[in-house]
Symmetry: C2
Subunit: 413 residues, 2 copies
């Protein structure tokens, strides 16, 4: 074990951490090292008070009036603008609305309509399941006019031809953490006249994303992972400005109408990104999301990326030094090729993760055999990573994960 | 003015009100008479603490583990079961998910798929706008294979023929409050082989609904009106048990998968009502909805109906006695024909409603000229109705609504 891998060395790195100031923004439980912010971000300290204010004052006292006076009606676009900064989008290109799944359906539908005559939606096997499920639902609804074609990522470039309406990819893979070259894939898609639709669920707040520079067309993303917006937080949708005027999405609800309170019978889409809205959004859920995004105030994504690579590389270095050969690394070894989480494969992965969680190191498990660990720079230190690995070492050396209680599978994790 | 219309008479009615116990379940602001629970229900007293607990303990301390340990994963069906009681549905026929708009799209789409070869979705002009907008979006998505046909309600029976896949109606009209005969219309639709899809947004918690007895096929409804679930609360979807196995809805997200955490590439719908779920639902929004539904604990809808008719009839009696001929009644005069809200038309309706709200009597305005008042038996008394009318009398007699500040239109209300 080299000097750089001692706890003292980790503490030294933490003393010069330019993001150390952000940890107090979170209400983390004592005795827990939380390596699952990639699945559900922890509670920001400001959220409870903001929600209490929204509930007791805006709702309780303001009642229906708060749609105007407490800024409820503007929240989807106002919060969208705050997300835009984190993903290289224009302030008027992002709306908070519905779930990632629903937004993917809207935008894949819209993309197909923008490319009439093209009958292929291109994606990859092993993409995040709900993305594939929503695309399957869309294709079935369109009755064979469009088909979902999934090809392994090393063959996507070859599969791009003039039958492809839209290339739908998740920028950061949910298990491996491997990243697509967004600009490169977008250029390839554009070269054959296809659009791109990026799922940024494991990217937003995790790695720098520059949708504008990449020339991306459409994107969706999640509010409850790195954005710390709370369980099931609303998602967001991005539409490049150049596509907004022509974009028609099928979930044409009243909040996306040009004049929602005119109560006319015919749908007329709102100008700009507002046409992505559908039904009445949850104000409480948006309030928590707003607080989650505020944990990035004054934080540059470049600094997040530097520290994220440092944390996950430290994790892998320690693992190789302390538990050589015990886990198969599913993620790229080169930090530049992966995002902010790392997956390890082990045939007893479920029980090992259950034992880790019981010991206060919370990651998660993804079928069939993946242990997944997220390295979120706003609240994790290098010392946390050191301690987490030491806990894993103890569990593996004592084989405490063989305790039968760790074999009982629960619905989630 | 007859004796029955004195404040003393109102107070006497309130003394024998079997629902008077429920008022303490709400945190109503002092000095306000809230006649807009049909648009946004007021804050239940239990909601703030339940949310604080969910935020600080389940999310803050439990983190990702709470999907299993705090019952998050089961919430959509558990809360659906609680709504089922209020609408005459089976415990396994209702799911809480998404918005009313999104659920309408899912179910209208599913209905069309259940009736192949039929090309008409039948509804009425003046239906709640988002319902028509979503159906328009669906028809456009289906590329002319299906068309939305809107006919006035007195011609719906004639328009029902074997081209109709599904009859989509809002049970209680959002302005007039007029109610459809659900069982009768359903029988007519079934007679020609069409399905029915009922929007219960202004019915649930307002009037007794018996979907089972009516033989209804599909329904959606709103969580933030009479159910008091908070601004933008999640909505619900109902599918009669006999249709569940064959029902395919296009928004096939992972939460509606037979095995969401198996992470397989192909969609396989869950058994039963769970296939109505789509993306990850907001836990915070569901928590508030759960508290809202709890305001109906121990309350029978028959008692709600009796008091609701008494309140709205008192309102109209007082109005006719105190301000004869000043407003046009848009709602049915016969209490049995309307639900729990009443609309009045007046060319200066916007300013009059603004003046009323400024005076602490909160109703709402619906374009072009409708003043709308909701009579919600869980927290309103007959004395409240008396006082509200007296306030309206003062505003009309002094013409205080002509104050220029009441002419400035806001986005909502």
């Amino acid at each position: 074990m080299t000097a750089v891998l001692t706890r003292e060395a980790c503490e030294a790195m933490d003393r010069s951490d330019p993001l150390a100031f952000a940890r107090v923004r979170f209400a983390l439980p004592p005795g827990v090292i939380y390596l699952d912010g990639n699945s559900l971000g922890p509670l920001p300290r400001a959220t409870a008070d903001a929600l209490a204010q929204q509930v007791q004052v805006a709702w309780g006292q303001g009642l229906i009036r708060s749609w105007n006076t407490a800024g409820w009606i503007d929240a989807p676009l106002r919060i969208g603008t705050r997300i835009a900064r984190l993903i290289g989008a224009g302030a008027d290109e992002v709306a908070v609305t519905d779930s990632t799944s629903v937004n993917l359906f809207k935008l894949a539908s819209a993309a197909v309509a923008l490319r009439p005559g093209r009958r292929v939606i291109l994606s990859e096997p092993g993409n995040f399941p709900t993305d594939l499920y929503m695309l399957q639902g869309l294709c079935q609804q369109l009755g064979g006019a469009v088909e979902l074609k999934c090809v392994p990522r090393d063959r996507i470039a070859d599969a791009l031809d003039d039958t492809v309406a839209v290339l739908v990819l998740t920028h950061v893979h949910y298990t491996s953490g491997e990243m697509f070259d967004m600009a490169g894939m977008t250029a390839r898609a554009h070269a054959v006249g296809a659009l791109t639709l990026w799922d940024l669920s494991h990217s937003t707040g995790a790695v720098p994303v520059d949708l504008s520079a990449a020339g991306a067309d459409l994107a969706v993303g999640c509010g409850y992972k790195y954005l710390n917006g709370g369980p099931g937080a609303p998602a967001f949708a991005y539409v490049a400005r150049r596509h907004q005027a022509d974009l028609r999405q099928p979930l044409s609800g009243w909040m996306g109408h040009a004049a929602p309170f005119a109560f006319v019978d015919d749908y007329q889409p709102a100008e700009g990104i507002a046409r992505m809205l559908c039904g009445t959004p949850s104000v409480l859920a948006m309030t928590a999301l707003d607080c989650g995004i505020a944990t990035f105030d004054g934080v540059e994504m470049a600094a997040v990326r530097t520290k994220s690579m440092s944390l996950s590389s430290l994790f892998l270095d320690l693992l190789e030094a302390r538990l050589p050969g015990l886990f198969e690394l599913v993620s790229p070894r080169n930090a530049a090729d992966r995002a902010s989480h790392v997956s390890l494969a082990h045939p007893d992965g479920y029980a090992i993760m259950a034992a880790l969680i019981a010991a206060g190191v919370i990651g998660d498990f993804r079928a069939p055999d993946r242990l997944r660990f997220g390295f979120t720079p706003l609240y994790l230190s290098h010392a946390d990573v050191f301690d987490a690995v030491e806990t894993l070492v103890r569990i593996m050396q004592t084989e405490s994960w063989r305790d039968p209680r760790f074999a009982v599978r629960q619905a989630v994790t």
